[in-house]
Symmetry: C2
Subunit: 249 residues, 2 copies
């Protein structure tokens, strides 16, 4: 017998409570003001790779959706990241954060210096969405359920602890606070509607776990390379590289 809609939603939310990357020590360090400028830069460089691949992921999803209504609902995610006539978009906003921390935005956008482990994890997510069922692809996006809390904590923690933080440099996160709830309300309802057998519920839960692994692995790689034991893999960004000509204030 298929578990109830409410039980299934609780199961999905429990995955976030147990595995979402708000529990990773790198985020505690970042939000608490414990990161050096270079550690913040390493985070900005590597997280850019994730941001830059999200619209590819969403396009891969839409390329497999035959229902125009679903494609239309999904399309706003690409607009949110890539921009529109009225909205510069999340990727540009992230590059403004990069500038604010003293990085050359062209260097960041080149994705040179991104940790190989970041690439492997993020690319695994794009492939997952390309190859798995639509239900699994939507379920994997539901980490957005847990994002508003971490974005709010981040804005507060960065503003309090770092000179680079202000309304302009943190506009990416403020915008995500507006955008993510609409996306995730749609995605959650879609998953609850479509996961109508035990097998589909299991597949959706496994997809959400997979996505928490993708996020966690990125922070593990960042922490290992730049915090503890601070062993930078061959070819990855070295502090001092990719700086803007004028240093950040």
């Amino acid at each position: 017998m298929t578990r109830s809609r409410e039980d299934f939603e609780s199961r999905l939310r429990r995955i976030g409570a147990e595995r979402y990357h708000d529990k990773h020590p790198f985020h505690h360090l970042l939000h608490g003001g414990g990161c050096t400028p270079d550690q913040v830069r390493a985070w900005v460089i590597n997280r850019y790779y994730y941001q830059s691949r999200i619209p590819l992921k969403d396009a891969a999803f839409m390329s497999r959706v035959e229902d125009p209504a679903l494609r239309r609902a999904w399309r706003s995610r690409i607009e949110d990241h890539d921009g529109t006539a009225d909205n510069e978009g999340g990727i540009r906003r992230w590059l403004r954060l990069a500038e604010a921390v003293g990085l050359d935005p062209d260097y960041v956008a080149s994705t040179r210096g991104v940790l190989p482990a970041t690439r492997f994890a993020v690319d695994a997510y794009v492939r997952f969405v390309r190859d798995k069922t639509l239900l699994e692809a939507v379920a994997a996006s539901l980490t957005e359920l847990f994002a508003p809390k971490i974005h709010a904590e981040r804005i507060e923690g960065l503003l309090k602890n770092y000179a680079f933080a202000n309304d302009a440099s943190l506009s990416y996160f403020r915008n995500r606070l507006k955008e993510a709830p609409k996306d995730v309300a749609f995605g959650l309802a879609w998953v609850l509607d479509h996961a109508d057998t035990d097998e589909k519920q299991d597949a959706a839960a496994a997809a959400l776990e997979f996505k928490t692994d993708v996020l966690w692995a990125q922070l593990d790689a960042l922490h290992s390379a730049y915090v503890d034991p601070a062993r930078i893999p061959p070819g990855a960004w070295q502090p001092g590289e990719g700086l803007a000509l004028r240093a950040a204030s």
Copy 2:
């Protein structure tokens, strides 16, 4: 002007000298006898995932080769791992190593508990071979150029430092010492023959760098999870899980 065959071979060998994972501190720990039994187990569990995917990678390669002679030459790689009537094959031999270190081989073969970062890196390699040019796929296999040295060091280090090590448990590595040189002689000659423009030489060198990243990222993840800072990601193997009913001697 395309650089000479000798210069290009030197360039490939330099990539190994600079980036191959024999330089990773986990290997120094392992070969020097500094690993706890659980750290050895974590290595055996995660490295199994890599072994288990190599024949998939080779099949993906062969699925794109139209020349029967090249397929025939390549096929022995799959036989070496999966076995033949006369040869149990590398995967079975790896599972005997798993038993020797006290693990349940069925647990190891299930690949439950493998670090997500290991999966992401290894899967990236299989995809690379599936999606890139044949030249890049063969070039990526040339890390085998650097493997005999590490296998010889490993056999010597493990025999000297760990009670589980003997001819039976280490047969995987002894066999690779015989198998790898034949594979890599073929692969190196093929790459040197086919990389006949600067652009192709650059692509082949980048493919070999990519492969060193795949290997390095696996050890970084292992080191981070089980050595320093010993933070095991959600869902990954915990010491005590997957043990054989009879502990290893």
